[in-house]
Structures are given as C-alpha cells and as structure tokens.
C-alpha cells in the first residue's frame, strides 16, 4: 500500500490541494493531484507504465482486504454471530452425513462380511466324485480372484453322524476360515481346534440336554454299514462351544476336518466352498456363470444373498431419512445464516449509503459483502466440521458402537456447503442493501 509512487505524490506543503480540471475517470483521475515540487506540475496526461498499473491494482486489492479485515475483525460480535450460524449448520450437516451415510455404508460392508455370497458345491461326479479335492479348491479360488475382486472362503465336508440314536449333520471345517467368514455367528465358548472337540448348534444342545464342557458320543453312519439305531459305538467328543445363528447352523455339529477324517476313517474332498467375494450384482453373476460353464470342474456355483431384504430396506430407509433431515437442516441453516446476514447488512445501511455516496458501484458493494459472507462460511464451516468430528465420534462410538472413519471429502463438502449457504443467504439482503438510495440513508436522523 505504501508503494513509493513519485508521480502521484500528494501536495507536500501546507497548502491544500488545488483543483484542476476534472473529467474522465479511472487512473487519469490522479492527475488532479497537483505536485508542487515543481517536477510534474504540467503533467496533465501522465503516462502510466504497466508496472505502475500493476502496482495500483495491488494497492487496491490490498485495500479491498483491509476493508474486509476491518469488517470482520473490528466487528467481532457480528462476525461471531455469522460464524456461529455457519458453524452450527456445518456441524449438524457433518454429523448427519457421518451418522446416516457412513453408518449404513459401514453396515452394508459388515453385512457383506456376513457369510458367503457365492457357494460352490460338488456334483458328486467326475473329478468331484469324492468331493472337491484340494487342488480344485485352489483352482476355483483362482477363478474368483482372477476377476480382480478379493475374496475369503471356507470349505465344508458334510457327513451324517449319530448321537444318542438320532442323526445329525456334521461338518468338517477349518475353524479360522469359518470364523472369519461368518462373523455374525453367535458362538458361546470356543471353536473346535483340536481333535475330538465339537461345536454344536443350540438346537442340538437343547435336544441332547448338554452343556459346554460335557462330552457326547458321536457315531459315524456309513452308508454301507449295517449298524442299527441301537449301535452305541462311537467317538467321545468334548463340547467346546455352542453356535446360534437362527439358521441351519443351529442343528449342526462342527468339528475340524481332521476329527471328521478320523471319525469316518477316510479322507475325501470337501462338499461345499463358501466364498465371500467383493464382487456384487452383475460381476457376481458373471463369476457364477464362468464357474458353471467350466463343466469339466463338475461343480455348481450359486449366488446367495445373505443380506436380507429387511436389512436392505432399513439401509434405504436410513438413507432417505438422511436426505429429508439434511434438506431440513440445510433449509434451517439457510434461514439462520440469512437472518444473521440480513441483520448485519441492515446495521450497515448507513455505511452502504456512505460507500455509494463515495462512488461505490452496486457491484463492488455486493462483492465485498459476498466475500465477507464466504469468509464467515469458510471459518464457520471449518470450525463446524471440527465440532462435528467430535460430536459424531462420540455419537457413533457410544450410540452405534462403531468405529468412525473420517472422510476428508465429507469434511470438504461440509465446508463448501457452509460457505455456499452463507453466500446464497446473503444474496437477497445484499441485493436490497445495494439498492439503497444513499440520500435516503444519509438523511436519516
């Protein structure tokens, strides 16, 4: 601002500046400053170099920000009002987005981890006559990953066993595989990891009237055997846990593959592979078709949906709710910020009138106010998002019992929305204010 400009120096002596012919406007106007040091007294038409003009533009830009700074910093209480309005809006918006957008998204993701979305079963013929052998499991898994979607899988070998003269389905599993695949299984006690440990469904436990820690005798029902229901031979197995899912699992028994091999006295491939793939929709259908087209594999692939329709509709409801609430909040914020801006602008009617009397155009007044509003919006938005992070973290961890994943984009969107709302809200009051007739304002007592 204090750039040295010899040519536009003000009258240096005691005399007030004299008046020369007025006319035109813009930069040439400065020629009216009479320079009495005798150097430029006749410079009616001063030539401005490009550098001079740049310097002048810089000086005016600096003045613009000086005025904005003055308005913001020296009118703290008003600025605080506008900032708080934006802050509340941004914070509410952020918390809403976090709760209603992120939570359903996380729920969807977690539900997808609820078991498999693709099941491969053996056709019991050809290469899978004795179940799906290990190399075939690997081959199928390769087909799954070849599409670019990550997957987890669990294998099952099913056999019919007899406990206390009743038949049950027993599955030989790898506990860690099944556990990670089916995180929603409600398991009490332990998973079977050692030989002759068994995890039983809650229905089974009820029918047998057994508890964790007790033992049961499990007999293998061989298709070719001549055993009768009176046959009480079998292997003693220790119940290490019970499982409850509300599904078929409740009437199953789970042991390690090793235990099942020993019980049946023979090794064979698995009967089913459950895949949990990241692929969804059409991609998943394509995968299913690919596997089924490979007839030589003698397996059947099938897409299964474990996210129930009810769950999906809850998510839709939450999302709809989010939109409705957000629109209401945005509208309320708009009203709040708009009221604040209106009051700020109306308090500055005299100032606006004065600026107009000094020759300010409507546009330059509007720009000043919009920039000021945008500043309030940005500052309020940033503070609001910070507050929102705190609130949503508390809310989501305590109420929804979920971890918060902070999303920078959502933060930016909230700050941008707050600024936009602040500017939009000030359009009407600023437009009205810039129409003020300076004479009317300045006449007011």
């Amino acid at each position: 601002m204090a750039d040295k400009q010899e040519t536009t120096q003000y009258v240096p002596d005691d005399s007030l500046s004299s008046v020369s012919a007025a006319g035109g406007n813009g930069y040439s106007e400065n020629t009216h400053s009479t320079n009495t040091d005798g150097v430029n007294t006749n410079s009616e038409k001063r030539v401005f170099t490009l550098e001079d003009i740049k310097k002048q533009e810089r000086a005016n830009r600096a003045m613009f920000w000086t005025m904005i700074r003055g308005a913001v910093i020296r009118r703290r209480s008003r600025a605080a009002m506008a900032i708080i309005a934006s802050l509340v809006g941004a914070a509410t918006l952020f918390v809403l987005i976090m709760v209603c957008l992120v939570v359903p998204a996380q729920m969807t993701e977690e539900m997808r981890a609820y078991g498999a979305n693709l099941v491969v079963t053996s056709n019991q013929t050809g290469v899978t006559e004795n179940g799906i052998q290990k190399d075939m499991v690997e081959h199928t898994t390769e087909m799954m990953t070849a599409t670019g979607f990550s997957q987890t899988h669990a294998t099952y070998r099913y056999e019919t066993v007899r406990v206390n003269s009743a038949s049950y389905q027993m599955a030989g599993i790898d506990s860690s595989e099944v556990k990670s695949m089916n995180q929603f299984w409600d398991v009490t006690g332990q998973w079977p990891t050692k030989t002759n440990q068994v995890l039983i469904g809650t229905d089974v436990a009820e029918r047998l009237s057994v508890k964790i820690g007790q033992s049961i005798t499990v007999g293998y029902v061989d298709d070719n055997s001549t055993g009768t229901i009176l046959d009480t031979d079998g292997t003693r197995m220790q119940i290490v846990g019970t499982v409850s899912t509300g599904g078929n699992e409740d009437s199953m028994l789970y042991v390690t593959t090793d235990t099942l091999n020993k019980l049946t006295g023979k090794e064979r491939g698995v009967d089913a592979i459950e895949y949990s793939s990241q692929a969804t929709g059409d991609d998943l259908t394509k995968l299913v078709n690919n596997i089924n087209d490979m007839r030589s594999m003698n397996v059947t692939a099938q897409a299964v949906s474990k996210i129930s329709t009810a769950n999906a509709s809850i998510i839709t409801m939450l999302t709809t709710l989010f939109w409705i609430i957000s629109i209401v909040i945005v509208a309320l914020t708009l009203v709040g910020v708009s009221t604040t801006m209106t009051s700020i602008v109306s308090q500055r009617r005299n100032e606006i009138g004065l600026r107009k009397a000094l020759g300010a155009s409507n546009r330059s007044i509007a720009v000043e106010f919009y920039v000021e509003s945008a500043l309030y919006g940005v500052v309020g938005g940033i503070l609001g998002v910070l507050a929102g992070v705190g609130v949503s973290e508390i809310l989501i961890t305590t109420v929804f019992d979920r971890a918060v994943e902070l999303n920078v984009w959502i933060m930016l969107v909230c700050v941008a929305a707050a600024s936009l709302i602040a500017v939009v809200a000030s359009i009407i009051p600023v437009h009205k204010a810039s129409q003020i007739n300076p004479a009317v304002v300045l006449r007011e007592e």
Partner: protein, 268 residues
C-alpha cells in the same frame, strides 16, 4: 466561455414528494471557486437541495448541470461516477466507516474513486492536522477529529465541489473554527464550496448566502461585493445564468426568522 465559469447550474428545479414540494422551482448558478452558503430553517429543503447538487438524488422537475453537463438523464452508475469525480461530501454526522481507521476511511474514498495510495491519504490527514491519529478508529476520535477525517476524505480525490451538510452542527466552537479555517484554505486554493447550514457564523464566512424557505429560494445576500460584481458580469454575458435573487434576507417573507439570527442579516 461563460458557461465554463459556471460549475453548477440549477434550472427551475423542483423536488416533489406526494403533495410536498421539498424544492419548488429553484434556479441557481454557482461559478467555479465560489463559496456559497445555503441557509434556511429545518424542512426548508436545504438537505434536498444538497442531495440534488451532490447527485445523491434527482429532481422531479427541472435540470441540473454540473460542469455544463446535464446530469438529469444519467443512469445510476454514471451518477455514481459524477459523485466520486466531481463532488466531495462532508456530513453533519460524519458517516465514517466505524470499523476502518481514519487513514483507511480516507483510503476507502480513493478505492472507490481510482487508486489507493496510503501516502496521499496520510498527507491529506496531515493537512487536517490528524497525522498522529491516522490509525485510530472513529470511535477513538472526538467529534471534531472525525469531521476533519471527513474533510480529508472529501479532499482526497480533489473534487470540484466540496459539499458540506451542517459540517459544524455537531462540533464545539474550537472545532468549528478549525473546520472553517480548513474551508477557508480550500477556498483560497480555488475549490468551490457549498455549505448547508443554519449557523449564521458559518454562513457568514461564505461569499454568498442564499436562503430557502418551504422549498423556495427566498433571499440572497453577498458578503463579498467583488465576487458579486464578477458574478453579475457573468450574468450579463450569458443569459442562461440564473441572476442574483434580488430579495435580501431582510425581506418581509421573514419566515426564516425563527431559526436564523435575523439581526445579523439586517446589518448586512
């Protein structure tokens, strides 16, 4: 030639609000460099006249010419241009931007006019004797100091006319004198000064006084006979110029008596 000498010319100007004639058929010519006072009681139309001269308002009837240019048909933006280039305004209530310092207030006028130059702004403040108060907010300045900031602001763009509405209305005698001295300096520099006032001391400083009553120009008085003679020569050379209003203030219209110290005028 003669029209160049006339900086401001009002030709049968009226301003009508509903039934109220705030200004009623006022004709007035002000030559360049003249110091003119407009006196009259409250509601006599002084401020309306000032707003019209300052291009803050436009007349309902009649024509206003500044520098020989008719401002009647100018759009708002062009009026704003005239305002910032030709007129420097000084108000009774100062109207400084409260959140800007003294020097920033002066710079704001530069900003809307053309180019901001802090050195010039400081120099203008120095001339009104406020250099050391330049970085104070208006709330930290006395009334007199605020009015001096206003004058510095009005001067900064070197206007043709300084238009002051009751510039000493809120000031004590000492500050009134400072402001009048500043005007005197400006007048000596050749600036045209139009002061609206009902203070006879202030009005008496001018070369010429005109009196308004109920929107009509009812009297005219010259404190500087030399200036009057010059003006009458001008009038003779160009009949478009509004002549001297022959009625003296002592004229029995006397409606202004309640606010104007009439004894002062009778002496004259």
């Amino acid at each position: 030639m003669a029209t160049n000498e006339i900086l401001l010319h009002l030709d049968h100007v009226s301003k009508i609000y509903g039934d109220l004639h705030a200004l009623d058929d006022v004709s007035l010519s002000v030559p360049r460099g003249q110091w003119l006072s407009i006196v009259g009681s409250s509601g006599s139309g002084k401020t309306t006249l000032m707003n019209i001269i300052g291009c803050l308002d436009s007349p309902s009837q009649g024509e206003v010419a500044l520098q020989g240019r008719n401002v009647e048909h100018l759009r708002e933006r062009e009026l704003a241009d005239v305002r910032k280039n030709v007129v420097g305004l000084v108000f009774q209530k100062f109207y400084l931007v409260q959140h800007l310092t003294a020097v920033e207030n002066v710079m704001a006028a530069q900003y809307y006019h053309s180019v901001v130059d802090e050195k010039q702004a400081m120099e203008a403040l120095r001339q009104v004797g406020l250099e050391d108060r330049a970085h104070h907010l208006p709330s930290q300045l006395s009334g007199g100091e605020q009015q001096r900031v206003c004058i510095a602001r009005a001067l900064i763009n070197c206007p043709e006319i300084i238009l002051a509405d009751e510039p000493t209305g809120n000031l004590d005698e000492a500050n009134e004198q400072i402001v009048l001295d500043l005007f005197k300096n400006l007048h000596e520099q050749g600036t045209t000064i139009i002061v609206v006032t009902h203070d006879s001391t202030v009005a008496g400083q001018a070369q010429r006084e005109i009196m308004l009553n109920h929107g009509k120009l009812v009297g005219e008085k010259w404190n500087d006979q030399e200036a009057r003679e010059r003006f009458e020569e001008l009038v003779q050379s160009d009949d478009s110029i509004a002549p001297v209003h022959e009625a003296e203030f002592a004229d029995p219209t006397k409606s202004a008596k309640d606010t104007i110290d009439s004894s002062n005028f009778e002496q004259a």
